[in-house]
């Protein structure tokens, strides 16, 4: 038996057709919003990713000259590099991609080491309309696959950011607090507050953050508390929500003000997509206004990436694994009629059918049931 390494998989014809179908739908929707598809290389110098990813989470290797290369763990960093170094012109720039990325992580169902991301980046504008557009686009893309029961959960990196700045915590404590908030660990946050002797106002906010999620009423709830730190954030989220409401997307939106992101390039709004019954996000995104500066051009940006395999899993669980398949037609022909048969087959192909050709003699071994229609030429 020949095995595959952990974290990679073969997609056999049925599965791959299903996957391609989803990817094509994403492409179509992205394109219809004015996003242009690009494709960076699968690997490049490791240091281009080192601002964002831990060395140990990347697949790294040497070339013959001794340079350290890495398989891309993420496309956003590559697009930031491309926009900073190669793309001139007027902003905003709208780019999209469907590409495989590679991360050295523990594997399980829905967490592979090679997986496909479909995403967009909207670069050069920091208006709330851009954030709303990108969130709306993620919803339209997910909807286009037939997915049901999903929510885009919205938070803001500055909720955590402003608390941390006020508290003057060391790096280690910041990471610990981030982890506790990520886990919504109310008991441990309580201990943290006591141990660090955190003052009343911040302590009160920290205590509430783990459960500050739900519908738009959460924004109201926090507004009433009158925290100086979160005033601006709340107004911003409110404006984004108004736009999404006008787009008719209310039912897909929820808020989580205690949300923190692991990738530390986010600076503003952050969001994640969840489907009922699937324990991990199918989509992550947000605003990253400081990333492009690292590569040489100081431009604001916002975007998201959808995990294609997770969407496949969610669709299968919702038994929406069906898609419109083209008709399969068998053209049977007598050898003397080969020319006419080929012409007939091409006409049918142009009409969008899948056509296979066999002479009557060879048809004995063909599974006729796998075809929707049989066309005979001659006899």
């Amino acid at each position: 038996m020949i095995y595959l390494p952990d974290g990679v998989q073969d997609f056999l014809p049925e599965e791959y057709e299903f996957k391609r179908n989803i990817e094509d739908k994403f492409r179509e929707v992205f394109k219809s919003f004015g996003y242009k598809e690009i494709m960076p290389p699968t690997f490049e110098y490791s240091e281009n990713f080192s601002h964002l990813f831990d060395e140990n989470s990347m697949y790294r290797f040497f070339d013959k000259k001794g340079n350290i290369l890495a398989l891309r763990p993420d496309v956003t960093a590559q697009i930031a590099r491309i926009v900073s170094t190669k793309l001139e012109g007027r902003y905003p720039l709208k780019l999209c991609y469907v590409a495989n990325v590679y991360r050295y992580e523990d594997t399980q169902v829905g967490k592979m080491r090679e997986f496909t991301q479909a995403g967009v980046e909207l670069i050069g504008t920091n208006h709330e309309e851009s954030d709303a557009e990108v969130i709306a686009l993620s919803i339209e893309a997910l909807k286009s696959t037939g997915l049901k029961d999903f929510k885009i959960d919205i938070g803001h990196a500055e909720v955590f950011g402003s608390i941390v700045r006020n508290l003057n915590l060391g790096n280690e404590d910041v990471n610990l607090l981030r982890e506790l908030l990520e886990q919504k660990n109310q008991s441990a946050i309580e201990d943290f507050i006591k141990q660090k002797e955190i003052k009343r106002e911040e302590a009160k906010l920290l205590r509430e953050l783990p459960l500050l999620f739900g519908g738009e009423e959460i924004l109201e709830k926090l507004k009433k508390e009158n925290f100086k730190e979160t005033e601006g954030v709340l107004e911003y989220l409110d404006r984004v929500y108004k736009i999404l409401e006008d787009f008719g997307m209310k039912e897909y939106i929820s808020f989580d003000l205690g949300m923190v992101q692991n990738l530390n390039y986010y600076t503003g709004i952050i969001f994640r997509g969840f489907v009922k019954g699937l324990g991990y996000a199918i989509c992550t995104g947000g605003r990253y206004d400081k990333l492009l500066k690292i590569y040489g051009k100081d431009l604001p940006a916002t975007g998201f990436a959808i995990s294609v395999e997770r969407v496949m899993l969610a669709l299968q669980r919702q038994s929406k694994g069906e898609w419109v398949k083209p008709r399969r037609v068998l053209v049977r022909y007598k050898e003397e009629e080969r020319r006419r048969a080929y012409e007939k087959a091409n006409v049918l192909r142009k009409e969008g059918n899948v056509v296979e050709m066999y002479t009557f003699k060879r048809c004995e071994n063909i599974d006729l049931k796998s075809f929707d229609e049989v066309v005979d030429v001659g006899e």
Binding site: K151, Q183, N185, Q186, L211, F213, D256, K276, G279
Partner: protein, 210 residues
Amino acid sequence: MDIVSIALPKGRMTEDAVVLFKKAGISNDVLKDISRKLILEDNKNAIKFMLVKPMDVPTYVEHGAADLGVCGKDILLEQKKDLYEVLDLKFGFCRMVVAGPPNVKDSFLTNKRVATKFPNVAEEFFKKKGENVEIIKLNGSVELAPIVGLSEVIVDIVETGRTLRENGLVVIEEIFPSTARLIVNKASMKTKSERIKDIILKLREVINGG
């Protein structure tokens, strides 16, 4: 109303967990129904309990087969799953310790062997100390290992210390204390947010109130 499913660990923590949920007004007393059934339904409160091996609780919750779970911190630290760990339920107290025969106390060779049901916890602990050890994964009766010469020490959970004493072992070092935690599936928290928030608040009240 959405049904909320809760994975409970079969064994020493089952009773405490059921009592806590009842006290918080979340479910009826289902203790009397526990026999060999793996699923207990409380239709009146729209709650479904499932009884699984303690080590499997995080798996059920991470995959969304259960919305909530009750699980020891020891197991969470061993498995590092992707889920919300929202509350310390303050029961099921125990300690994760390094234990061994009394005569080896503080006088180790560098490459000692460690028998344990918690290989990740053990590895991380000794790595942080800068010690090279050989981890031997066992599935039970870990106390036997040093007695029969399979390992020098063990890393295991201790409640009262009785089992250790009965086998002539002593605690050499404490790694961390552990209690039962309430864990939540990440998608359920958002897709059934009202119900789950309500459950968390009710439990929090009971825990903090007494």
